[in-house]
Structures are given as structure tokens and as C-alpha cells.
Symmetry: C2
């Protein structure tokens, strides 16, 4: 079980498997260092030769890519307990840029720590592999939304996705979340303009799907939204039955 003083990382991992002592030691190595970044700060930029990964300790961030002109696509929104930088370890330089959506605290670590995990803990390896694969499934869901859904459906999908993710980390969350993103950022996430995000929000409010109060959003008709976008929660459960046992010392 996760102890009271455990980090969000260990809490999130414990959601899926019973961590062995060996695994805990390996994981805690990832959070030895700690660093703060202010809202709007760029943590690293695409093309930069950074072999670091990060555990998010607090705050929201997002990964994005720019097009040669001013267009921008936000690829993933990151929450506390997420490990980020995975997509970049396959290449010599980062493929996306990372920006703090609000004030955040990160724990940087090197890919040597990752190598050691691969070498010493089959259990953690399998879980990290599974989490990476899960991320990919979520991106498939996003791709489906971007390719085939209307603006209203896309926004509904995003809200349901964020809600599901936040519920993993915080069981008290029911139907209200804080959304520390500008409408321009939401637009860059969904492939829309800031203007149309505003209009779509107003429409959703008018149709009773949600209500807004500053950063805070309350989902009023979650069932209806879930059915509309055919939403599947990828976060609550994952299949860990096939995982290898820990190798004996």
C-alpha cells in the first residue's frame, strides 16, 4: 500500500500494482532532485539536446510542437505524478517542447536511471512499458477526436479525459475541475482557434453540459457527454496480469 508520505509518482504506480521494495528503491531514485519553474516558462525546447526526463511533482505543464509559421499543436497535458520525456529518449534531441502552464515543481533524472530500472526490475519495466503503451492508446483516442469529431465533441472529450486522469490522483474529485489553461491553449490542444473555443464553451454552457466559474469547470451532464464522444476511461484500470515476477537476488 502507498504510505501517507509517498510521492505522487509512487501513489500513481501503486494504483496499478503492489510495488516491491526493490521497485520502490528504483522509483525513489527518480525523485532525488527537485526544481521549480514559473508559469509560462519553457522547460526544454524541441531540437534541444537534453537527455533528461522529469517526474512532475506539482502543477500542470504541456508538451507541444510548433509549425514553421505561427501554428502550434499541444500534444499532451501533464499532471503531478506523470513521467515526462519518454517520447524523446528514442532520439538524440527532443521532439517536442515543454512549457509550464502554471507554477510547477519537477524532478529531473537522467536516462541512466531508466537503464538501471530496465536492468534490475522487470516488474517496473513492464509497468513503465504498459504506461507508455497506455499513453499511446490515449493519443489514439485524441487522434480520433481530432480527425472525426466536431468542436463541441472534441471539447467534451478533453474535459472527460482530464476528469478521468485527475480522479486517479484524487479520489475526492467528482464533477468539478480546475482548468489552468487559456482558451488559446485549449484551442492548440484541440486544433481549434481561441475564438471558436470560446464560442463552443458558451454553447456547451447554454445546452447545460457544464457551468463555468473562472478556472473552475463543473461537468453537469457527464453521462450525456460520455455517450456523445463514446468515451472510454483508459486510466482507471489496466491489464497487469502478464507482468513478470521479480527476479530473485
Amino acid at each position: 500500500m502507498a504510505g501517507a508520505e509517498d510521492s505522487c509518482l509512487i501513489q500513481k504506480f501503486s494504483h496499478y500494482i503492489e510495488l516491491s521494495d526493490n521497485s520502490r528503491v528504483q522509483l525513489s531514485r527518480l525523485e532525488e532532485e527537485e526544481r521549480d519553474y514559473a508559469r509560462g516558462r519553457e522547460v526544454y525546447s524541441a531540437g534541444q539536446n537534453s537527455q533528461r526526463l522529469f517526474v512532475v511533482k506539482s502543477g500542470w505543464l504541456y508538451s507541444y510542437t510548433d509549425l514553421p509559421d505561427a501554428r502550434r499543436q499541444i500534444v499532451k497535458i501533464h499532471h503531478p505524478g506523470d513521467i515526462l520525456g519518454f517520447p524523446d529518449i528514442a532520439f538524440e534531441s527532443a521532439t517536442t517542447s515543454l512549457r509550464a502552464a502554471e507554477d510547477v515543481t519537477l524532478c529531473p533524472f537522467g536516462s541512466d536511471a531508466l537503464r538501471e530500472i530496465f536492468d534490475k526490475s522487470p516488474q517496473l519495466t513492464a509497468l513503465m512499458f504498459t504506461l507508455a503503451v497506455r499513453d499511446q492508446v490515449c493519443m489514439i483516442d485524441t487522434l480520433r477526436a481530432m480527425g472525426r469529431m466536431s468542436a463541441l465533441e472534441r471539447l467534451g472529450f478533453l474535459l472527460l479525459d482530464l476528469l478521468a486522469r485527475i480522479r486517479i490522483a484524487n479520489r475526492d474529485v467528482r464533477d468539478t475541475i480546475r482548468l489552468p489553461l487559456t482558451q488559446a491553449e485549449i484551442g492548440d490542444t484541440l486544433g481549434l482557434t481561441n475564438v471558436y473555443v470560446s464560442k463552443t464553451f458558451s454553447l456547451m454552457e447554454a445546452e447545460g453540459y457544464l457551468s463555468r466559474d473562472g478556472d473552475w469547470i463543473t461537468i453537469l451532464r457527464e453521462e450525456a457527454l460520455a455517450e456523445m464522444v463514446d468515451f472510454v476511461d483508459r486510466y482507471a484500470t489496466m491489464d497487469t496480469n502478464w507482468f513478470p515476477l521479480e527476479r530473485p537476488e
Copy 2:
């Protein structure tokens, strides 16, 4: 070095690292069985409880998801030498459906073979991890195209992507590829209608970007296209320096 009689799987893996004997033995286990599927055949369906993965031996396939109405999004196009099913092992049932775009031969294998690889070959584990991560980066590129590019740019991106992938497997390929997909399928890949794909193809032909002859497409202005969509080849090289050494027996 890859021998003359090696499978496409071993050929593709050898593109990135020098495979140890141990790794080769592990990999060959994935191709023990073999099965044919006719064009249009559905290999498995989303929601089905299939814990199998596949190595593609010959032919093109694609993974897709349906929306409750008739809308469809093709998520990934698969070529010979690809391993497919990864996105689904994290869940009890498949998250996408798989369909043969033409007559194909597949090699099915169980996730137990994967577990054995994780347990016995750190080198292969790292490479498969890296390939999974690379796939994710490619999906990020796709997401960027879907979210922020025009129809012409999206189609250009798709063609460059396919070209780069095919060049890995076949060094003779220069600027002409066979595209065994209908325009409706291309539309489902790019988030467009079959009608608009047709119109966009015509436009690209008129502007001298490509020429067509049945299934065959010749890219005439690859440089211009690559600049237009800010294309980066994710297939030619990957960073394998951080890989662990083989564990001694």
C-alpha cells in the same frame, strides 16, 4: 549483419542495432506461426478479448476505431516487419480493430513471448521500448498534421511518412511507391472525406507535387513537400547509445 534469409522483422531490427545471438533466438520465436488473411478481412475487432500480437510478414494493414455513427478513424498503417498489437496489451480487450488493406500474411504470437523477452534480453527490451516510443513520436507528428494542417499538407505529410518507412525496408525505393489504399481509407487516415481526398490529389498533381498511375504514386517535389509540412524522418536513425549491455549468462 542481417543474413540473406532473415525475416523482415530481423532485418528491420538490425537496421538499428547489432543483434546478439540471444536476441535472434528470442525474435525468431515471434515468427514461428504463420497465417494468411484476404484483402478487407478483419483480423481482430475492438473490444475483442485477444491477447495476441502479430508480426507482419507481407502486405499492408491498418488499425482503426469506429465512432458510434458511421465515422471511422484509421490510426496507423502497418507494413511488413512491423509488430502490431502493442497498444492493446495494456488492456484486457483490443482498443482498435485491424483490417487487411490487401492480401497479407501475419505471424501471431502470445504476450508470453513478450514477457520472456523482457525477462531474458535487456537489449531487445530496450529496442522494443524505443520502437514503441518512436511510434508515439510518429503519432505526435500525425496529431500535429491533423490538428493544424490543411488537407493538402496532410496528404503531403502522409506520403512523405510512407516513403520514409518504406525506404527502411527497401533501399531501392527512390520516389515512387505503391499505395494500396482507397481514397476513402486515406480520408479516414487524414480526417477528410473521400471526395476531398480526390480533389486534393488532383490539386497536388496540377501543382506538380506528384504524378499518379493507378496505385502507383511518384513524388516529384519531395523537397518542397518536406519543407511545406516541416517533415522529419523518424525512421532512418534512432538513439540507441543508452541501451543496456546483454546480461551475462
